[in-house]
Structures are given as structure tokens and as C-alpha cells.
């Protein structure tokens, strides 16, 4: 039995957590999110290289959040998701025990959010090489080529909202896409409506995205939709020097400003 199972078992036994959100064996060699509510389930939790999914979206899920306190097995992107959720008041200190597994495979139990910040202070977040490569490739294209690329992707979008549901930061009870007075974004999954939806989602994530890429992972039709918020996160890092999901007290880049913010296109 690994450290993660022991800690999960202890937290459940002492009642410090009612459920431990983690990873379990999934279909055919894959891993899946798993929920340990008792000793037996605690024993089934696993943690290994395959556990890259960001689980932070489960902490506010309606079927789970009433079970707070929760414990959650966390990789770096989950940690960042939790910190960002805390910045946006969706988690309070003490709601969640985070079981961070560091590069050495040690489990670091964070009961306070500040302890997560300490873990994150050691880390320089980087985007995946394949994402970087595709972003660079797109940047090198002409606008027309980029348009063709994205439009062909948008035609495939079926508006299943897996991207939204998988996102740790899409916690709104009413998503902008569901607002119908006015109907900002068409309900129909037509190309222009899909485009508007994905632009809106990326904009709403700008300054907030923790670059986990979960939206792209979730897409059933393989649209690299995570590139949009990640591209913006990278730009924001370059322009404003802010990185989301590293510190609780950070303010959102798009709801703050500096009088001497630079731009080069406003005449």
C-alpha cells in the first residue's frame, strides 16, 4: 500500500475528510478520477505518471462540494487550479486537504492553502512542448492560414461543452453561453457560433487559466482548444508578468491595471 493510500485511509478514518478525490485504475490501462469514501476505496487509489488530469474541477462540483472537507490528490496543475479557485473565493482555507505528490514521489499534505503556495514556489510552470510547438507553428502562419486552421476545427465542434466541464475554472452556475436574454452565443453548433463560444471561453479564462490543457484533453473531436487560453496566458505572462494560480493573493490580470500599461495599437 502506497503513501497515498495510507494518508487517504487515515483522513477518512479520522473524519478529516469525507471523500478523497484522486486517481484510480480506468479502462484498459488508463486512469480515471476516483473517489475514496471508505477504507476499501482508499486502497484502490493510485498515483503514477499517467495521473496528469487536473482534478480541481471536482472540488466545487455540486455532487461533491457538500461533502467538504475534501481531500484531493494533486499534481501541479491541480494545485494551481486550487490556488486559482481560492483566489476567486470558490474555496476557503480549510475546505480542502491537498495531497501533493512532488517530483520525488513524496506526498506533501497541505491543510492550509498557504502550504500549497509554498509547494508552488518551487515550481516554474511550463507549457507542454507539443503545445508550444503547435502555438509556434500557428504563430508562424499567415492570418489567412490561421483562420483556415481554426475554422476547420470550429466546423467540427459539436458544443458538447466537455471543454467547459473539464475546466477547473468554469465553475459558473450560469455560463455566458447559457444566457439567453440576450442570446449572446447561438445555441446551435454552427461554425460562427462555435467560434464565438471558444473566443468567449478563452477571454473569460484570460488572466485566470492555469494552463492545464484539460479542455483540449476533454474534447471528443480532438480540437486543440486548450491552445487558446494557453496562448493568452503566455501573452499575459509576457506583457503583464502575471502567472495565474501560483499565489492566492494575486489579483486577476484583467480586473486590474497599471496606468502605464503598454500597448502598440491604440491610436
Amino acid at each position: 500500500m502506497g503513501a497515498i493510500n495510507e494518508i487517504a485511509a487515515r483522513l477518512l478514518e479520522t473524519g478529516e475528510a469525507k471523500v478523497v478525490i484522486g486517481y484510480g485504475e480506468g479502462s484498459f490501462g488508463s486512469v480515471r478520477p476516483a473517489f475514496a469514501r471508505n477504507q476499501e476505496e482508499a486502497e484502490k487509489l493510485i498515483y503514477d505518471k499517467r495521473c496528469t488530469q487536473n482534478l480541481a474541477m471536482y472540488v466545487y462540483k455540486k455532487e461533491i462540494s457538500p461533502l467538504r472537507k475534501l481531500a484531493i490528490v494533486a499534481n501541479v496543475s491541480t494545485l494551481r487550479g486550487i490556488i486559482r479557485l481560492a483566489s476567486e473565493n470558490q474555496i476557503k482555507n480549510g475546505d480542502i486537504i491537498t495531497l501533493y505528490i512532488n517530483e520525488l514521489g513524496e506526498v506533501i499534505e497541505c491543510k492550509a492553502l498557504s502550504e500549497i503556495e509554498i509547494c508552488l514556489a518551487e515550481i516554474t510552470p511550463e507549457i507542454k512542448p507539443e503545445d508550444k510547438e503547435l502555438i509556434d507553428k500557428l504563430d508562424a502562419m499567415t492570418p489567412q492560414e490561421r483562420w483556415n486552421f481554426w475554422i476547420s476545427e470550429m466546423e467540427s465542434c459539436i458544443k458538447c461543452y466537455a471543454c467547459r466541464q473539464a475546466c477547473p475554472l468554469c465553475y459558473c452556475t450560469q455560463c455566458a453561453v447559457e444566457v439567453n436574454q440576450p442570446q449572446w452565443i447561438p445555441v446551435a453548433a454552427n461554425t460562427s457560433g462555435n467560434l464565438e463560444w471558444h473566443i468567449t471561453r478563452a477571454m473569460h479564462l484570460s488572466g485566470r487559466c492555469v494552463e492545464c490543457g484539460q479542455c483540449g484533453e476533454a474534447c471528443p473531436v480532438n480540437i486543440p482548444i486548450h491552445l487558446l487560453p494557453i496562448k493568452l496566458a503566455e501573452e499575459i505572462k509576457n506583457i503583464y508578468g502575471t502567472v495565474s494560480g501560483m499565489k492566492i493573493q494575486e489579483s486577476n490580470t484583467l480586473s486590474t491595471f497599471k496606468p502605464d500599461d503598454k500597448e502598440n495599437f491604440i491610436g
Binding site: 479502462s27 488508463s30 478520477p33 473517489f35 455532487e63 467540427s156 473539464a166 446551435a188 473531436v221
Partner: protein
């Protein structure tokens, strides 16, 4: 009426070419990481070496956006323009997987149930399915557990099975299939004896025993088996949208100035807004109830009311689920538990 012919690997592209002269031809096309049914003009465009397209073929008969009628608003009121069913195109889908083709029967059951939906009926009537039997499968495939098979002819007008030589065994199954043959009769060779189609089919092991499935699943309704699903399922609509049978829909108006149209759009019982009343009351309040509805609808309610199952075991929903909600596994569990 099944007739067996042979279609050589050289004849196959010629057949596509011949059909494209008069009708739009569609088939699985690879596009980046994605394989989907797309319009093609030659057989070269068809994807090869894949298990199953990412999206099912249901959009040929139940597109993600279906115009129901259009209208023009003016100062005095509204002029309504009904759709013209004559505009619905004749299409041939080549390379549809047997599971997708089999799904057409379930879709037909839904849309033909009183009252019959003429838009759907016309689309189905005007689409010819040239199936391609599966010569490979993955762990997610479970058609055999639900009475289907990698070489199932149900729903196809012609079913092709690729042999080890690259030539095809062509089963001409319907009059629509016959019509295709008459377009290029020379390309189809007569055959003698048993071509042993089974030899060329993928092996899809049975995952569970489907006998008495309906009663077993009914018995699970009020058990806590759905609690874990309630937690894990994130409530997106991916499973429903990739499913060859899920036919739940929404009706919305799209407008552009004074013009408007009412459209039918894919919807999903997994979405929390699906059943939400404007009062705030939601009859299926939890994700567990919604996942249960998905299972119940496919394996209990549809068999009860429409005498068909809502699942052909294509495994798409499980393959595509971001949180690995595996439908075959769930069914297996329900069967074992009950």
C-alpha cells in the same frame, strides 16, 4: 434479399467515382487527429487503418442543426415558410461501420414513433449506406455483447467486407443497395461458394451477458451504484453527441434581422439544464440521476416503449469520455450486482 458479390480493390475507387457522378458521397476522412464522415470525391480521400470515426453517422439523418421551418417577420406579423423536403439531398455514405448502420434502426424507432417525423424519414430514405465490416476493433468495442457483430448487416444497404487480398465481399442487402449496383454493374463480380466473411472480421469478445438486461437494470434504479457516477461524471454532452443513437434534441430559434428559422439541435440528458424548470426545480437534480437516465433510457425505456435498444456497442461514449465513464463496464456491474 441478400445477394453476395465481389468488389475488387481496383473496382472500389471506380465505384466511388461512378456514384459521385450523380450523388454526393461521404466517407470517413482523416483530418489531423480526427476521423469523421466527410464529403469525398474519390476513394483516395478515405481514411484507412482506424477503428471507428470519432463521430457517428447519425448526422446524415439527424444533423446537429436541422432547420424545421423559416419565417419572416414584418410589421403586420409573421410569414412562415415551411421546409421543402425535396431539397433534402440523396447521399451515399461509404465505409459506415456496421454499428453505426445498426444504430439507424433505433433512430428510426424514435423518429417514427407516433407522430412520424417526415424530415427524418426523408433523410433516411435518401441516404444509402455502404457499410464496411470491421477488421479491427479495440477494447471499447462491445457490439457483440448487444447482439451486433463487426460484420452485422443491419442498417446497411450494402455491406463490404475487406478480404486479405484487399478485395471486398459485397453483400447487397436492400433495394437501395441494388440501385448502387445498377450504377456500375460491371464492377460487381458474381461469386460462388461461401467466401467465409467471418474470417476477415475483427474479434470483439462479449463483455457481458445481455439476457434479462432490462430487468436487471430496472432493479438497479434505486441503488447507490449511481453515487460514484454522480461524482465522476462531469455532465458534458460528449457521450450523447458522439453516440449513434442518442437523439434527444432542443428546439431553438435563430434570427438574422427580420428573418428567422426554427432549428432542431442535438441535446443531451447529461446536461444539467436539460430538464431544469424555469422555477429552479430540476426533476433530475444530480449527475447520478442524469447518468442513470442515460442508461435507463437506452436499456430499459427504449426497449419497453420502442422495442429497440438505444445502444449498439460502438463504445464511442466510453472512448471519448474525459473521465472514463465506461458504459460497458457500468452495464456489466449492474448485471453482476443484480
Amino acid at each position: 434479399m441478400s445477394k453476395i458479390k465481389k468488389l475488387s480493390k481496383e473496382s472500389f475507387p471506380l465505384l466511388i467515382k461512378k456514384i459521385s457522378e450523380t450523388q454526393h458521397v461521404y466517407g470517413p476522412v482523416s483530418q489531423g487527429k480526427r476521423i469523421s464522415y466527410q464529403r469525398i470525391s474519390s476513394a483516395d480521400e478515405l481514411a484507412s487503418d482506424f477503428i471507428i470515426p470519432d463521430m457517428s453517422a447519425k448526422s446524415f439523418v439527424f444533423p446537429k442543426i436541422e432547420k424545421l421551418f423559416s419565417y419572416t417577420k414584418n410589421k403586420d406579423g409573421v410569414e412562415v415558410q415551411d421546409i421543402n423536403l425535396d431539397n433534402i439531398p440523396h447521399r451515399v455514405v461509404v465505409g459506415i461501420r456496421p454499428c453505426d448502420a445498426a444504430g439507424m434502426e433505433s433512430l428510426k424507432a424514435i423518429f417514427s414513433w407516433d407522430p412520424s417525423d417526415p424530415i427524418f424519414e426523408t433523410r433516411l430514405k435518401r441516404t444509402t449506406f455502404i457499410g464496411l465490416a470491421c477488421n479491427q476493433a479495440d477494447d471499447y468495442c462491445f457490439c457483440t455483447s448487444l447482439g451486433g457483430s463487426p460484420g452485422d448487416t443491419k442498417g446497411s444497404d450494402i455491406l463490404l467486407t475487406k478480404t486479405d487480398t484487399g478485395d471486398y465481399i459485397a453483400e447487397i442487402l436492400t433495394s437501395k443497395g441494388e440501385k448502387i449496383v445498377t450504377l456500375a454493374p460491371d464492377l460487381f463480380q458474381d461469386v460462388e461458394g461461401d467466401l467465409q466473411k467471418e474470417k476477415f472480421l475483427a474479434n470483439v469478445p462479449k463483455r457481458f451477458d445481455n439476457s434479462d438486461l432490462q430487468n436487471k437494470i430496472n432493479a438497479a434504479f434505486n441503488t447507490d451504484v449511481f453515487d460514484e457516477y454522480a461524482m465522476r461524471c462531469m455532465g458534458c454532452s460528449a457521450c450523447a453527441f458522439v453516440c449513434p443513437i442518442c437523439a434527444c434534441f432542443d428546439i431553438q430559434d435563430e434570427t438574422k434581422g427580420s428573418k428567422g428559422q426554427r432549428v432542431r439541435l442535438w441535446d443531451s440528458c447529461g446536461a444539467k439544464l436539460f430538464t431544469l424548470h424555469t422555477s429552479g426545480h430540476n426533476p433530475r437534480e444530480t449527475q447520478g440521476a442524469r447518468w442513470r437516465q442515460r442508461l435507463m433510457h437506452k436499456f430499459s425505456y427504449m426497449p419497453e416503449r420502442l422495442e429497440v435498444r438505444g445502444c449498439v456497442g460502438c463504445g464511442r461514449c466510453s472512448r471519448r469520455c474525459p473521465v472514463d465513464m465506461n458504459i460497458a463496464e457500468s452495464l456489466n456491474q449492474l448485471i453482476i450486482d443484480n
